[in-house]
Protein backbone atom coordinates (compact mmCIF):
# COMPACT_ATOMS: atom_id res chain seq x y z
CA UNK A 1 0.00 0.00 0.00
CA UNK A 2 2.54 2.47 1.01
CA UNK A 3 6.18 2.74 0.17
CA UNK A 4 6.95 4.94 3.13
CA UNK A 5 6.66 2.22 5.73
CA UNK A 6 9.58 0.15 6.95
CA UNK A 7 10.67 -3.38 6.13
CA UNK A 8 8.83 -4.95 9.05
CA UNK A 9 5.66 -3.35 7.93
CA UNK A 10 6.30 -4.59 4.42
CA UNK A 11 6.38 -8.16 5.65
CA UNK A 12 3.16 -7.80 7.58
CA UNK A 13 1.61 -6.20 4.52
CA UNK A 14 2.74 -9.18 2.49
CA UNK A 15 1.27 -11.62 4.99
CA UNK A 16 -1.94 -9.66 5.06
CA UNK A 17 -2.06 -9.70 1.31
CA UNK A 18 -1.44 -13.44 1.21
CA UNK A 19 -4.25 -14.05 3.68
CA UNK A 20 -6.57 -11.75 1.76
CA UNK A 21 -5.65 -13.49 -1.45
CA UNK A 22 -6.39 -16.86 0.13
CA UNK A 23 -9.80 -15.66 1.32
CA UNK A 24 -10.56 -14.24 -2.10
CA UNK A 25 -9.64 -17.45 -3.86
CA UNK A 26 -11.73 -19.44 -1.42
CA UNK A 27 -14.70 -17.16 -1.98
CA UNK A 28 -14.21 -17.23 -5.75
CA UNK A 29 -14.36 -21.01 -5.70
CA UNK A 30 -17.58 -20.86 -3.70
CA UNK A 31 -19.03 -18.40 -6.17
CA UNK A 32 -17.84 -20.42 -9.14
CA UNK A 33 -19.27 -23.80 -8.13
CA UNK A 34 -22.83 -22.96 -9.20
CA UNK A 35 -21.54 -21.57 -12.45
CA UNK A 36 -19.46 -24.66 -13.13
CA UNK A 37 -22.52 -26.72 -12.27
CA UNK A 38 -24.50 -24.76 -14.84
CA UNK A 39 -21.90 -25.37 -17.51
CA UNK A 40 -21.59 -29.06 -16.63
CA UNK A 41 -25.36 -29.49 -16.79
CA UNK A 42 -25.42 -27.73 -20.15
CA UNK A 43 -23.03 -30.33 -21.56
CA UNK A 44 -24.75 -33.44 -20.21
CA UNK A 45 -26.36 -35.98 -22.55
CA UNK A 46 -30.13 -36.31 -22.02
CA UNK A 47 -29.81 -39.60 -20.15
CA UNK A 48 -27.59 -38.06 -17.47
CA UNK A 49 -29.76 -35.11 -16.43
CA UNK A 50 -30.96 -36.90 -13.35
CA UNK A 51 -27.96 -39.04 -12.48
CA UNK A 52 -26.89 -36.68 -9.72
CA UNK A 53 -23.25 -36.59 -10.78
CA UNK A 54 -21.57 -33.23 -11.01
CA UNK A 55 -19.61 -33.83 -14.19
CA UNK A 56 -20.97 -35.26 -17.43
CA UNK A 57 -19.38 -38.50 -18.66
CA UNK A 58 -19.28 -37.11 -22.19
CA UNK A 59 -19.31 -33.50 -23.26
CA UNK A 60 -22.26 -32.93 -25.52
CA UNK A 61 -21.56 -29.57 -27.13
CA UNK A 62 -24.41 -30.39 -29.44
CA UNK A 63 -26.76 -29.20 -26.66
CA UNK A 64 -25.86 -25.64 -27.53
CA UNK A 65 -26.87 -26.11 -31.12
CA UNK A 66 -30.04 -27.88 -30.04
CA UNK A 67 -30.98 -25.13 -27.63
CA UNK A 68 -30.42 -22.47 -30.28
CA UNK A 69 -32.54 -24.31 -32.82
CA UNK A 70 -35.23 -25.50 -30.43
CA UNK A 71 -36.41 -21.96 -29.84
CA UNK A 72 -36.19 -19.06 -32.27
CA UNK A 73 -32.96 -18.02 -30.60
CA UNK A 74 -31.78 -15.41 -33.09
CA UNK A 75 -35.20 -13.87 -33.55
CA UNK A 76 -35.52 -13.54 -29.77
CA UNK A 77 -32.01 -12.15 -29.59
CA UNK A 78 -32.84 -9.48 -32.16
CA UNK A 79 -36.06 -8.64 -30.32
CA UNK A 80 -34.24 -8.39 -27.03
CA UNK A 81 -31.74 -5.98 -28.55
CA UNK A 82 -34.60 -3.88 -29.89
CA UNK A 83 -35.62 -3.35 -26.29
CA UNK A 84 -32.24 -3.28 -24.59
CA UNK A 85 -30.47 -0.75 -26.81
CA UNK A 86 -33.05 2.05 -26.65
CA UNK A 87 -33.61 1.38 -22.95
CA UNK A 88 -29.95 1.69 -22.10
CA UNK A 89 -29.45 4.84 -24.14
CA UNK A 90 -32.60 6.46 -22.82
CA UNK A 91 -31.93 5.49 -19.26
CA UNK A 92 -28.33 6.64 -19.14
CA UNK A 93 -28.97 10.08 -20.59
CA UNK A 94 -32.26 10.89 -18.93
CA UNK A 95 -31.00 9.76 -15.53
CA UNK A 96 -27.82 11.78 -15.95
CA UNK A 97 -29.81 14.92 -16.75
CA UNK A 98 -32.13 14.48 -13.81
CA UNK A 99 -29.33 13.57 -11.43
CA UNK A 100 -27.46 16.71 -12.50
CA UNK A 101 -30.55 18.78 -11.75
CA UNK A 102 -30.82 17.27 -8.29
CA UNK A 103 -27.15 17.55 -7.45
CA UNK A 104 -26.31 21.02 -8.79
CA UNK A 105 -29.33 23.28 -8.43
CA UNK A 106 -31.01 24.46 -5.29
CA UNK A 107 -34.48 24.75 -6.70
CA UNK A 108 -37.62 25.11 -4.67
CA UNK A 109 -39.19 21.83 -3.62
CA UNK A 110 -36.08 19.83 -4.46
CA UNK A 111 -36.12 17.85 -1.22
CA UNK A 112 -39.77 16.95 -1.66
CA UNK A 113 -39.32 15.90 -5.27
CA UNK A 114 -36.37 13.74 -4.37
CA UNK A 115 -38.36 12.04 -1.66
CA UNK A 116 -41.07 11.37 -4.22
CA UNK A 117 -38.42 9.89 -6.48
CA UNK A 118 -37.44 7.52 -3.68
CA UNK A 119 -41.09 6.87 -2.82
CA UNK A 120 -41.86 5.61 -6.31
CA UNK A 121 -39.60 2.67 -5.49
CA UNK A 122 -41.42 1.85 -2.26
CA UNK A 123 -44.71 0.57 -3.63
CA UNK A 124 -44.60 -3.17 -4.38
CA UNK A 125 -44.58 -3.67 -8.14
CA UNK A 126 -47.05 -6.53 -7.85
CA UNK A 127 -49.92 -4.10 -7.36
CA UNK A 128 -48.90 -1.47 -9.91
CA UNK A 129 -48.37 -4.07 -12.62
CA UNK A 130 -52.02 -4.31 -13.63
CA UNK A 131 -52.78 -0.57 -13.44
CA UNK A 132 -49.67 0.00 -15.55
CA UNK A 133 -50.86 -2.54 -18.07
CA UNK A 134 -54.26 -0.86 -18.23
CA UNK A 135 -52.63 2.51 -18.78
CA UNK A 136 -50.50 1.31 -21.67
CA UNK A 137 -53.43 -0.54 -23.08
CA UNK A 138 -55.50 2.61 -23.04
CA UNK A 139 -52.93 4.43 -25.17
CA UNK A 140 -52.64 1.46 -27.49
CA UNK A 141 -49.11 0.40 -26.60
CA UNK A 142 -49.84 -3.22 -25.81
CA UNK A 143 -48.12 -5.68 -28.11
CA UNK A 144 -45.49 -3.11 -29.04
CA UNK A 145 -42.05 -2.50 -27.56
CA UNK A 146 -43.09 0.98 -26.45
CA UNK A 147 -44.04 0.17 -22.82
CA UNK A 148 -40.67 -1.55 -22.46
CA UNK A 149 -38.56 1.25 -23.94
CA UNK A 150 -40.22 4.66 -23.83
CA UNK A 151 -40.37 4.99 -20.02
CA UNK A 152 -36.59 4.57 -19.92
CA UNK A 153 -36.27 7.97 -21.62
CA UNK A 154 -38.04 9.56 -18.68
CA UNK A 155 -35.60 8.52 -15.97
CA UNK A 156 -38.12 6.14 -14.47
CA UNK A 157 -35.46 4.31 -12.44
CA UNK A 158 -35.11 5.97 -9.06
CA UNK A 159 -32.16 3.72 -8.33
CA UNK A 160 -30.14 5.04 -11.25
CA UNK A 161 -30.98 8.69 -10.60
CA UNK A 162 -30.05 8.32 -6.95
CA UNK A 163 -26.81 6.54 -7.83
CA UNK A 164 -25.80 9.21 -10.35
CA UNK A 165 -26.81 12.05 -8.10
CA UNK A 166 -24.69 10.63 -5.29
CA UNK A 167 -21.78 10.31 -7.66
CA UNK A 168 -22.12 13.84 -9.01
CA UNK A 169 -22.35 15.21 -5.50
CA UNK A 170 -18.90 13.80 -4.90
CA UNK A 171 -17.44 15.94 -7.67
CA UNK A 172 -16.33 19.36 -6.43
CA UNK A 173 -18.48 22.21 -7.67
CA UNK A 174 -15.39 24.17 -8.65
CA UNK A 175 -15.25 22.32 -11.93
CA UNK A 176 -18.57 23.40 -13.32
CA UNK A 177 -18.33 26.78 -11.64
CA UNK A 178 -15.11 27.35 -13.54
CA UNK A 179 -16.93 26.51 -16.72
CA UNK A 180 -19.80 28.84 -15.86
CA UNK A 181 -17.35 31.67 -15.35
CA UNK A 182 -16.00 30.90 -18.79
CA UNK A 183 -19.47 31.66 -20.03
CA UNK A 184 -20.83 28.17 -20.55
CA UNK A 185 -24.54 27.65 -19.83
CA UNK A 186 -25.64 24.85 -17.49
CA UNK A 187 -26.44 22.50 -20.33
CA UNK A 188 -23.01 23.05 -21.86
CA UNK A 189 -21.19 22.57 -18.61
CA UNK A 190 -23.26 19.44 -18.04
CA UNK A 191 -22.28 18.01 -21.40
CA UNK A 192 -18.71 19.27 -21.56
CA UNK A 193 -17.64 19.00 -17.93
CA UNK A 194 -19.95 16.69 -16.05
CA UNK A 195 -20.59 13.88 -18.50
CA UNK A 196 -16.93 13.11 -19.16
CA UNK A 197 -16.24 13.09 -15.44
CA UNK A 198 -19.18 10.80 -14.84
CA UNK A 199 -17.99 8.08 -17.19
CA UNK A 200 -17.69 5.48 -14.44
CA UNK A 201 -21.21 5.91 -13.16
CA UNK A 202 -22.57 6.13 -16.70
CA UNK A 203 -20.91 2.80 -17.38
CA UNK A 204 -22.31 1.31 -14.19
CA UNK A 205 -25.82 2.42 -15.07
CA UNK A 206 -25.28 1.05 -18.57
CA UNK A 207 -24.36 -2.36 -17.17
CA UNK A 208 -27.13 -2.40 -14.57
CA UNK A 209 -29.78 -1.31 -17.07
CA UNK A 210 -28.53 -3.71 -19.70
CA UNK A 211 -28.68 -6.55 -17.19
CA UNK A 212 -32.11 -5.62 -15.88
CA UNK A 213 -33.67 -5.25 -19.32
CA UNK A 214 -31.89 -8.29 -20.74
CA UNK A 215 -33.19 -10.57 -18.00
CA UNK A 216 -36.62 -8.94 -17.62
CA UNK A 217 -39.29 -11.62 -17.77
CA UNK A 218 -42.47 -9.98 -16.54
CA UNK A 219 -42.44 -6.88 -18.75
CA UNK A 220 -42.21 -8.72 -22.07
CA UNK A 221 -44.57 -11.39 -20.75
CA UNK A 222 -47.32 -8.92 -20.04
CA UNK A 223 -46.91 -6.55 -22.97
CA UNK A 224 -45.91 -8.78 -25.87
CA UNK A 225 -48.69 -10.89 -27.27
CA UNK A 226 -47.18 -11.87 -30.56
CA UNK A 227 -44.75 -14.79 -30.29
CA UNK A 228 -42.70 -13.16 -33.06
CA UNK A 229 -41.97 -10.31 -30.66
CA UNK A 230 -40.87 -12.48 -27.72
CA UNK A 231 -37.53 -11.90 -26.01
CA UNK A 232 -34.79 -14.24 -24.88
CA UNK A 233 -35.93 -14.37 -21.27
CA UNK A 234 -39.37 -15.53 -22.44
CA UNK A 235 -37.71 -17.99 -24.79
CA UNK A 236 -35.67 -19.40 -21.92
CA UNK A 237 -38.74 -20.24 -19.93
CA UNK A 238 -40.09 -22.26 -22.85
CA UNK A 239 -37.57 -24.91 -21.86
CA UNK A 240 -39.12 -25.27 -18.49
CA UNK A 241 -42.04 -27.31 -19.71
CA UNK A 242 -44.86 -27.98 -17.34
CA UNK A 243 -44.15 -31.62 -16.64
CA UNK A 244 -40.80 -32.48 -18.12
CA UNK A 245 -37.77 -30.28 -17.94
CA UNK A 246 -34.90 -30.35 -20.33
CA UNK A 247 -32.42 -29.00 -17.85
CA UNK A 248 -29.41 -29.55 -20.07
CA UNK A 249 -30.86 -27.47 -22.89
CA UNK A 250 -32.14 -24.88 -20.44
CA UNK A 251 -28.67 -24.48 -18.97
CA UNK A 252 -27.05 -24.32 -22.40
CA UNK A 253 -29.41 -21.53 -23.35
CA UNK A 254 -28.78 -19.88 -19.99
CA UNK A 255 -25.05 -19.83 -20.65
CA UNK A 256 -25.61 -18.34 -24.09
CA UNK A 257 -27.89 -15.68 -22.68
CA UNK A 258 -25.41 -14.81 -19.94
CA UNK A 259 -22.48 -14.43 -22.27
CA UNK A 260 -23.19 -10.92 -23.61
CA UNK A 261 -23.57 -9.47 -20.11
CA UNK A 262 -20.37 -11.15 -19.10
CA UNK A 263 -18.49 -9.63 -22.01
CA UNK A 264 -20.03 -6.23 -21.38
CA UNK A 265 -19.03 -6.27 -17.75
CA UNK A 266 -15.52 -7.42 -18.55
CA UNK A 267 -15.09 -4.55 -20.98
CA UNK A 268 -16.73 -1.99 -18.75
CA UNK A 269 -15.27 -2.90 -15.40
CA UNK A 270 -12.21 -0.69 -15.73
CA UNK A 271 -14.41 2.33 -16.23
CA UNK A 272 -16.83 1.37 -13.52
CA UNK A 273 -14.53 0.32 -10.78
CA UNK A 274 -12.06 3.07 -11.21
CA UNK A 275 -14.63 5.14 -9.59
CA UNK A 276 -18.34 5.15 -9.32
CA UNK A 277 -16.93 6.99 -6.39
CA UNK A 278 -19.83 8.52 -4.60
CA UNK A 279 -17.45 9.24 -1.80
CA UNK A 280 -16.65 12.67 -0.57
CA UNK A 281 -13.22 11.70 -1.80
CA UNK A 282 -10.72 13.79 -3.62
CA UNK A 283 -10.93 11.78 -6.77
CA UNK A 284 -12.87 13.09 -9.71
Amino acid sequence: MSVVTGAKNKISVKIGRGAAMAILIFLSVLVLIPLVWTICMSLKPDGEIYNGRFFPTALQFDNYIRSVTKIDFFLYLANTLKIVIPSVIGMVFSCALVAYGFSRFDFKGKRAWFLILLATMMIPGQVTMIPQFLLYRMIGWVNTYLPLTVPAFFATSGYNVFLMRSFMSGIPKDFDEAATIDGAGPLRSFIRIMLPMCQPVLMAVTVFTFMGTWNDFNGPLIYLYDAKKYTLSLGLSFFKGLYTSQWNLLMAATVLVMLPILILFFLAQDYIINGISISSGTKG
Binding site: R17, V31, F107, L135, L250, L262, Q269, G281
Partner: protein, 309 residues
Protein backbone atom coordinates in the same frame (compact mmCIF):
# COMPACT_ATOMS: atom_id res chain seq x y z
CA UNK B 1 -30.67 46.05 8.02
CA UNK B 2 -27.55 47.25 6.42
CA UNK B 3 -27.39 48.50 2.91
CA UNK B 4 -25.24 45.58 1.84
CA UNK B 5 -27.73 42.88 2.74
CA UNK B 6 -30.54 44.93 1.32
CA UNK B 7 -28.57 45.16 -1.86
CA UNK B 8 -27.92 41.44 -1.88
CA UNK B 9 -31.50 40.37 -1.48
CA UNK B 10 -32.80 40.90 -4.99
CA UNK B 11 -29.65 39.26 -6.28
CA UNK B 12 -30.31 36.04 -4.35
CA UNK B 13 -33.86 36.13 -5.55
CA UNK B 14 -32.64 36.39 -9.07
CA UNK B 15 -30.21 33.60 -8.38
CA UNK B 16 -32.99 31.56 -6.79
CA UNK B 17 -35.12 32.08 -9.87
CA UNK B 18 -32.30 30.82 -12.03
CA UNK B 19 -31.77 27.87 -9.72
CA UNK B 20 -35.45 27.05 -9.99
CA UNK B 21 -35.51 27.41 -13.74
CA UNK B 22 -32.45 25.28 -14.40
CA UNK B 23 -33.26 22.78 -11.68
CA UNK B 24 -36.71 22.09 -13.05
CA UNK B 25 -35.43 22.08 -16.61
CA UNK B 26 -32.98 19.31 -15.76
CA UNK B 27 -35.40 17.18 -13.80
CA UNK B 28 -38.15 17.73 -16.38
CA UNK B 29 -37.76 14.33 -18.08
CA UNK B 30 -38.31 12.61 -14.78
CA UNK B 31 -41.22 14.87 -13.86
CA UNK B 32 -42.97 14.19 -17.15
CA UNK B 33 -42.36 10.46 -16.77
CA UNK B 34 -43.61 10.61 -13.20
CA UNK B 35 -46.95 12.05 -14.22
CA UNK B 36 -47.28 10.03 -17.40
CA UNK B 37 -46.13 6.57 -16.36
CA UNK B 38 -45.53 6.23 -12.65
CA UNK B 39 -48.02 8.25 -10.69
CA UNK B 40 -51.20 7.12 -12.42
CA UNK B 41 -50.68 3.39 -11.68
CA UNK B 42 -49.62 4.23 -8.13
CA UNK B 43 -52.71 6.31 -7.46
CA UNK B 44 -54.88 3.71 -9.11
CA UNK B 45 -53.55 1.06 -6.74
CA UNK B 46 -54.19 3.45 -3.84
CA UNK B 47 -57.77 3.75 -5.04
CA UNK B 48 -58.00 -0.04 -5.35
CA UNK B 49 -56.96 -0.45 -1.73
CA UNK B 50 -60.39 0.89 -0.78
CA UNK B 51 -62.13 -1.42 -3.25
CA UNK B 52 -62.97 -5.00 -3.94
CA UNK B 53 -61.80 -6.31 -7.27
CA UNK B 54 -61.30 -9.84 -8.59
CA UNK B 55 -59.29 -8.63 -11.64
CA UNK B 56 -60.65 -11.10 -14.20
CA UNK B 57 -64.09 -9.61 -14.67
CA UNK B 58 -62.57 -6.31 -15.70
CA UNK B 59 -62.67 -2.74 -14.50
CA UNK B 60 -66.44 -2.57 -14.40
CA UNK B 61 -66.56 -4.94 -11.44
CA UNK B 62 -64.53 -2.69 -9.13
CA UNK B 63 -66.54 -2.05 -6.02
CA UNK B 64 -65.86 0.65 -3.41
CA UNK B 65 -65.85 -0.79 0.11
CA UNK B 66 -64.21 1.98 2.10
CA UNK B 67 -61.71 0.92 4.74
CA UNK B 68 -62.93 -2.67 4.96
CA UNK B 69 -59.72 -4.06 3.50
CA UNK B 70 -57.66 -2.36 6.17
CA UNK B 71 -59.84 -3.50 9.06
CA UNK B 72 -59.68 -7.02 7.70
CA UNK B 73 -55.91 -6.84 7.35
CA UNK B 74 -55.45 -5.82 10.96
CA UNK B 75 -57.37 -8.94 12.00
CA UNK B 76 -55.48 -11.20 9.61
CA UNK B 77 -53.08 -13.57 11.35
CA UNK B 78 -51.12 -14.17 8.17
CA UNK B 79 -50.50 -10.43 7.80
CA UNK B 80 -48.68 -10.39 11.14
CA UNK B 81 -46.83 -13.57 10.26
CA UNK B 82 -45.69 -12.02 6.98
CA UNK B 83 -44.60 -8.85 8.75
CA UNK B 84 -42.64 -10.89 11.26
CA UNK B 85 -40.82 -12.85 8.56
CA UNK B 86 -40.05 -9.69 6.59
CA UNK B 87 -38.79 -7.73 9.58
CA UNK B 88 -36.63 -10.62 10.69
CA UNK B 89 -35.16 -10.83 7.21
CA UNK B 90 -34.48 -7.10 7.05
CA UNK B 91 -33.00 -6.95 10.51
CA UNK B 92 -30.45 -9.61 9.64
CA UNK B 93 -29.84 -9.14 5.96
CA UNK B 94 -29.50 -5.37 5.73
CA UNK B 95 -26.53 -5.05 8.11
CA UNK B 96 -25.06 -8.44 7.20
CA UNK B 97 -25.06 -7.83 3.45
CA UNK B 98 -23.61 -4.33 3.86
CA UNK B 99 -20.76 -5.56 6.04
CA UNK B 100 -20.00 -8.53 3.81
CA UNK B 101 -20.13 -6.40 0.66
CA UNK B 102 -17.79 -3.86 2.18
CA UNK B 103 -15.31 -6.51 3.29
CA UNK B 104 -15.30 -8.20 -0.10
CA UNK B 105 -15.01 -4.82 -1.81
CA UNK B 106 -11.97 -4.01 0.36
CA UNK B 107 -10.38 -7.31 -0.59
CA UNK B 108 -11.10 -6.65 -4.24
CA UNK B 109 -9.64 -3.19 -3.89
CA UNK B 110 -6.14 -4.56 -3.32
CA UNK B 111 -3.64 -4.42 -6.10
CA UNK B 112 -3.14 -8.06 -6.88
CA UNK B 113 -2.46 -9.90 -10.08
CA UNK B 114 -5.48 -11.25 -11.90
CA UNK B 115 -7.75 -8.89 -9.99
CA UNK B 116 -9.64 -8.26 -13.20
CA UNK B 117 -10.67 -11.86 -13.44
CA UNK B 118 -11.44 -12.17 -9.75
CA UNK B 119 -13.70 -9.13 -9.81
CA UNK B 120 -15.52 -10.61 -12.73
CA UNK B 121 -16.11 -13.78 -10.75
CA UNK B 122 -17.74 -11.88 -7.91
CA UNK B 123 -20.02 -10.12 -10.33
CA UNK B 124 -21.09 -13.38 -11.99
CA UNK B 125 -23.86 -14.42 -9.59
CA UNK B 126 -25.85 -11.29 -10.38
CA UNK B 127 -25.95 -12.37 -14.00
CA UNK B 128 -27.21 -15.94 -13.68
CA UNK B 129 -30.98 -16.00 -14.19
CA UNK B 130 -32.99 -16.96 -11.11
CA UNK B 131 -34.38 -19.95 -12.93
CA UNK B 132 -30.89 -21.49 -13.01
CA UNK B 133 -29.52 -20.24 -9.72
CA UNK B 134 -32.49 -21.47 -7.72
CA UNK B 135 -31.93 -25.00 -9.03
CA UNK B 136 -28.34 -24.88 -7.96
CA UNK B 137 -29.07 -23.50 -4.53
CA UNK B 138 -31.71 -26.13 -3.80
CA UNK B 139 -28.88 -28.64 -3.95
CA UNK B 140 -26.28 -26.53 -2.18
CA UNK B 141 -28.60 -25.90 0.77
CA UNK B 142 -29.75 -29.53 0.92
CA UNK B 143 -29.02 -32.00 3.65
CA UNK B 144 -25.82 -33.19 1.98
CA UNK B 145 -25.18 -29.93 0.17
CA UNK B 146 -22.00 -27.95 0.08
CA UNK B 147 -22.98 -25.77 3.02
CA UNK B 148 -23.51 -28.75 5.31
CA UNK B 149 -20.36 -30.44 4.05
CA UNK B 150 -18.51 -27.33 5.15
CA UNK B 151 -20.26 -27.32 8.51
CA UNK B 152 -19.43 -31.01 8.92
CA UNK B 153 -15.75 -30.08 8.86
CA UNK B 154 -16.47 -28.00 11.97
CA UNK B 155 -18.31 -30.94 13.51
CA UNK B 156 -21.75 -29.42 12.98
CA UNK B 157 -24.51 -31.48 11.44
CA UNK B 158 -26.60 -29.08 9.36
CA UNK B 159 -30.29 -29.42 8.51
CA UNK B 160 -31.93 -29.51 5.12
CA UNK B 161 -31.96 -25.73 5.16
CA UNK B 162 -34.94 -24.82 3.01
CA UNK B 163 -37.11 -27.75 4.10
CA UNK B 164 -36.95 -27.07 7.84
CA UNK B 165 -39.24 -24.40 9.32
CA UNK B 166 -36.59 -23.20 11.76
CA UNK B 167 -33.90 -22.67 9.14
CA UNK B 168 -35.63 -21.90 5.83
CA UNK B 169 -35.42 -18.14 6.32
CA UNK B 170 -31.72 -18.35 7.14
CA UNK B 171 -31.22 -20.53 4.10
CA UNK B 172 -32.63 -17.75 1.94
CA UNK B 173 -30.49 -15.17 3.72
CA UNK B 174 -27.36 -17.25 3.10
CA UNK B 175 -28.35 -17.61 -0.52
CA UNK B 176 -28.86 -13.87 -0.81
CA UNK B 177 -25.20 -13.23 -0.04
CA UNK B 178 -24.48 -14.73 -3.41
CA UNK B 179 -26.34 -11.99 -5.22
CA UNK B 180 -24.79 -8.89 -3.72
CA UNK B 181 -22.52 -8.25 -6.69
CA UNK B 182 -23.99 -4.85 -7.47
CA UNK B 183 -23.53 -3.63 -3.91
CA UNK B 184 -19.94 -4.84 -3.97
CA UNK B 185 -19.27 -2.95 -7.19
CA UNK B 186 -20.62 0.26 -5.75
CA UNK B 187 -18.57 -0.13 -2.58
CA UNK B 188 -15.52 -0.99 -4.61
CA UNK B 189 -15.79 2.15 -6.64
CA UNK B 190 -16.37 4.15 -3.49
CA UNK B 191 -13.17 2.75 -2.05
CA UNK B 192 -11.30 3.60 -5.22
CA UNK B 193 -12.28 7.19 -4.68
CA UNK B 194 -10.49 7.40 -1.35
CA UNK B 195 -7.19 9.11 -2.05
CA UNK B 196 -4.07 7.15 -1.21
CA UNK B 197 -2.40 10.23 0.19
CA UNK B 198 -4.86 10.20 3.09
CA UNK B 199 -3.71 6.74 4.10
CA UNK B 200 -0.09 7.71 3.71
CA UNK B 201 -0.56 10.71 5.92
CA UNK B 202 -2.19 8.62 8.61
CA UNK B 203 0.51 5.97 8.34
CA UNK B 204 3.06 8.66 9.18
CA UNK B 205 0.89 9.64 12.13
CA UNK B 206 1.23 6.03 13.33
CA UNK B 207 -2.39 5.06 12.95
CA UNK B 208 -2.96 1.31 12.80
CA UNK B 209 -5.17 -0.26 10.19
CA UNK B 210 -8.26 -0.33 12.42
CA UNK B 211 -7.94 3.34 13.16
CA UNK B 212 -7.40 4.01 9.50
CA UNK B 213 -10.51 2.07 8.64
CA UNK B 214 -12.76 3.87 11.07
CA UNK B 215 -11.17 7.32 10.84
CA UNK B 216 -10.58 7.52 7.10
CA UNK B 217 -12.25 4.79 5.08
CA UNK B 218 -15.67 4.86 6.70
CA UNK B 219 -16.13 8.64 6.67
CA UNK B 220 -14.77 8.93 3.16
CA UNK B 221 -17.16 6.35 1.75
CA UNK B 222 -20.07 7.37 3.96
CA UNK B 223 -22.11 8.66 0.98
CA UNK B 224 -21.66 5.26 -0.65
CA UNK B 225 -22.80 3.54 2.52
CA UNK B 226 -25.75 5.89 2.68
CA UNK B 227 -26.77 5.08 -0.88
CA UNK B 228 -26.45 1.34 -0.36
CA UNK B 229 -28.31 1.37 2.96
CA UNK B 230 -31.23 3.38 1.58
CA UNK B 231 -31.50 1.07 -1.40
CA UNK B 232 -31.17 -1.99 0.85
CA UNK B 233 -34.03 -0.76 3.06
CA UNK B 234 -36.25 -0.15 0.05
CA UNK B 235 -35.30 -3.46 -1.56
CA UNK B 236 -35.24 -5.80 1.45
CA UNK B 237 -38.74 -5.03 2.61
CA UNK B 238 -39.92 -6.00 -0.87
CA UNK B 239 -37.96 -9.28 -1.05
CA UNK B 240 -39.87 -11.66 -3.29
CA UNK B 241 -38.32 -13.62 -6.13
CA UNK B 242 -36.27 -16.30 -4.39
CA UNK B 243 -38.95 -17.08 -1.84
CA UNK B 244 -41.48 -17.27 -4.65
CA UNK B 245 -39.38 -19.65 -6.71
CA UNK B 246 -37.79 -21.77 -4.01
CA UNK B 247 -39.91 -22.04 -0.88
CA UNK B 248 -43.30 -20.63 -1.89
CA UNK B 249 -43.61 -19.30 1.64
CA UNK B 250 -43.13 -22.65 3.36
CA UNK B 251 -42.47 -24.73 5.29
CA UNK B 252 -45.12 -23.78 7.85
CA UNK B 253 -45.16 -20.18 6.56
CA UNK B 254 -41.61 -19.68 7.79
CA UNK B 255 -40.71 -17.81 4.60
CA UNK B 256 -44.03 -16.11 4.01
CA UNK B 257 -42.53 -12.77 3.00
CA UNK B 258 -44.83 -9.78 2.89
CA UNK B 259 -44.74 -9.34 -0.86
CA UNK B 260 -45.21 -13.05 -1.38
CA UNK B 261 -48.37 -12.96 0.71
CA UNK B 262 -49.50 -9.90 -1.20
CA UNK B 263 -48.86 -11.62 -4.53
CA UNK B 264 -50.81 -14.71 -3.43
CA UNK B 265 -53.72 -12.54 -2.37
CA UNK B 266 -53.78 -10.67 -5.68
CA UNK B 267 -53.03 -13.33 -8.25
CA UNK B 268 -54.06 -16.61 -6.61
CA UNK B 269 -57.02 -15.55 -4.49
CA UNK B 270 -58.01 -12.78 -6.94
CA UNK B 271 -58.32 -10.15 -4.18
CA UNK B 272 -56.62 -7.19 -5.81
CA UNK B 273 -58.16 -4.65 -3.44
CA UNK B 274 -56.89 -6.48 -0.38
CA UNK B 275 -53.46 -6.84 -1.96
CA UNK B 276 -53.34 -3.13 -2.81
CA UNK B 277 -54.19 -2.27 0.78
CA UNK B 278 -51.38 -4.56 1.91
CA UNK B 279 -49.05 -2.82 -0.53
CA UNK B 280 -49.83 0.65 0.78
CA UNK B 281 -49.25 -0.46 4.36
CA UNK B 282 -45.85 -1.69 3.21
CA UNK B 283 -45.29 1.64 1.48
CA UNK B 284 -45.79 3.47 4.78
CA UNK B 285 -43.43 1.10 6.58
CA UNK B 286 -40.66 1.52 4.01
CA UNK B 287 -41.15 5.27 3.90
CA UNK B 288 -40.80 5.43 7.68
CA UNK B 289 -37.53 3.50 7.73
CA UNK B 290 -36.12 5.34 4.74
CA UNK B 291 -36.83 8.67 6.38
CA UNK B 292 -35.19 7.35 9.52
CA UNK B 293 -32.01 6.59 7.58
CA UNK B 294 -32.13 9.95 5.81
CA UNK B 295 -32.65 11.82 9.09
CA UNK B 296 -29.79 9.99 10.72
CA UNK B 297 -27.52 10.72 7.79
CA UNK B 298 -26.69 14.21 8.98
CA UNK B 299 -24.76 12.58 11.83
CA UNK B 300 -22.67 10.22 9.81
CA UNK B 301 -22.62 11.10 6.12
CA UNK B 302 -20.02 13.55 4.87
CA UNK B 303 -20.59 15.18 1.50
CA UNK B 304 -18.11 17.06 -0.59
CA UNK B 305 -20.63 19.69 -1.58
CA UNK B 306 -22.80 19.74 1.50
CA UNK B 307 -25.46 18.19 -0.69
CA UNK B 308 -27.83 16.65 1.78
CA UNK B 309 -31.09 14.99 0.95
Amino acid sequence: MSAITADKKPKTNLNQRRQNRYGYAFIAPWLIGLFLFTLIPMLFSLFLSFCKWDIVTGLSSIQWIGTQNFTKIFNDGKFYKALEVTFKYCLISIPAYQIISLIVAMLLNMRIKFMHGIRLIFFLPSIIPTIASSMIWMQMLGKEGILNQGLALLGISGPSWLKTPQTALYGLIIMGVWGIGNTIIIYLSGLQGVGEELYEASAIDGANSFQRFFKITIPMISPTIFFNVVMAVIGSFQYFTQAFVMTEGGPLNSTLFYNLYLYTKAYKDLQMGYASALAWIMFVIILFFTLLVIRSSSFWVYYQNDDKI
